[in-house]
């Protein structure tokens, strides 16, 4: 995985069938990147469902959550609708897994993203990362702690 302290590589991916989202547009906000293997698979659903319920805790820290998998924009649209997600899922679809590769979070054997988390600060610098075993939902406590540490450090400086 990419290490803390380096600038998060910029990318632009579809967030809906007719809209794209560029990471650098989110400067001024913290960003949580949640790479996950696949829409509809049981663990992913649980993980994204959990994060959907945790959004209000993330937003306290001025943080935007982005889910990323290799599924297509149409697949994401159906998945979002089905689970009533209130955050974007980005389609790392063509070229497949390009962004996940950039973030050293691509599983070449499965052809899917690994279950990898990054927290970026308001300047787009990586401040925390975590790679979960693919079969394990990592929960949200690590993300929340990382966000709190960032806010705490800012207050002190």
């Amino acid at each position: 995985m990419l290490q803390s302290g380096i600038i998060a590589p910029d990318f632009e991916l579809n967030s809906t069938p007719d809209q794209t989202l560029k990471l650098s547009e989110l400067k001024g906000k913290k960003v949580i990147l949640a790479f996950y293997p696949a829409d509809w698979s049981p663990v992913c659903g649980d993980q994204m469902t959990l994060y959907n319920e945790t959004l209000r805790l993330f937003s306290r820290h001025n943080a935007q959550l982005l889910g990323i998998s290799v599924d297509s924009k149409w697949c994401h649209t159906a998945f979002i609708h089905y689970h009533k997600f209130h955050f974007p899922l980005l389609a790392d679809f063509e070229p497949k897994g390009e962004v996940a590769r950039m973030y050293e979070s691509y599983d070449e054997k499965e052809g899917e993203c690994k279950r990898a988390l990054y927290v970026l600060d308001e300047d787009g610098i990586i401040r925390w990362n975590y790679l979960s075993p693919t079969g394990v939902n990592p929960g949200a406590n690590g993300i929340l702690q990382a966000l709190e540490t960032l806010d705490h450090q800012k207050k002190k400086s």
Partner: protein
């Protein structure tokens, strides 16, 4: 290892002796079918372990996935103001397919609550805040789905089918 944060305290709903060597904490969602499946298992576990176990229930409603979960949690918390938390907790899990307000008011009446007070209490801001605080404590503790269990403060990752959970707790009790 994920730790229960905060530890069991006076704001918790606790069944069993405070001197019990084992504390089992459940983070649950009243509308979650897995939690419904766990409900009779926990009763069985409590019977088997007896005074060696105390049991704590904390709310972890996944409100988007389960639209009635939060209000059911509010109902149980409101019942606790009349010292009937566990009666309400039980009746809700025993009827988890019917959790409208009308249903909840009927359950409140059935377990002998003063329904008028109950109807006022479910609207109290501090009741909703208690449910939200439980949810946040779950996130901080590493809860990643429901039900999630903690045994003596540590997240339990094993099977919670009765035979497995009883076996694990029995083995743990012997080591204290």
């Amino acid at each position: 290892m994920n730790q229960l944060t905060p530890p069991v305290n006076k704001n918790d709903h606790i069944q069993g002796s405070s001197h019990a060597p084992l504390t089992l904490v459940e983070y649950g969602d009243y509308q979650c079918p897995h939690c419904g499946h766990a409900y009779p298992i926990i009763k069985q576990v409590q019977r088997k372990l007896g005074d060696r176990l105390r049991f704590v229930y904390r709310n972890f409603p996944l409100s988007e996935a389960h639209p009635d979960a939060f209000k059911a949690a509010v109902g149980a918390e409101a019942a606790s103001l009349q010292n009937r938390f566990w009666e309400m907790h039980d009746v809700i899990f025993e009827n988890q397919d019917a959790l409208s307000w009308t249903d909840l008011f009927a359950y409140a009446q059935n377990i002998g609550l003063d329904v008028q007070s109950f109807e006022e209490d479910v609207q109290r801001r501090e009741i909703a805040e208690k449910v939200e605080a439980d949810f946040e404590s779950g996130i901080r503790s590493g809860v990643n789905g429901t039900p999630s269990f903690f045994i003596n403060g540590e997240k339990y990752e094993g099977s919670w089918e009765a035979i497995d959970l009883i076996g694990y707790l029995n083995a743990s009790a012997n080591s204290y």
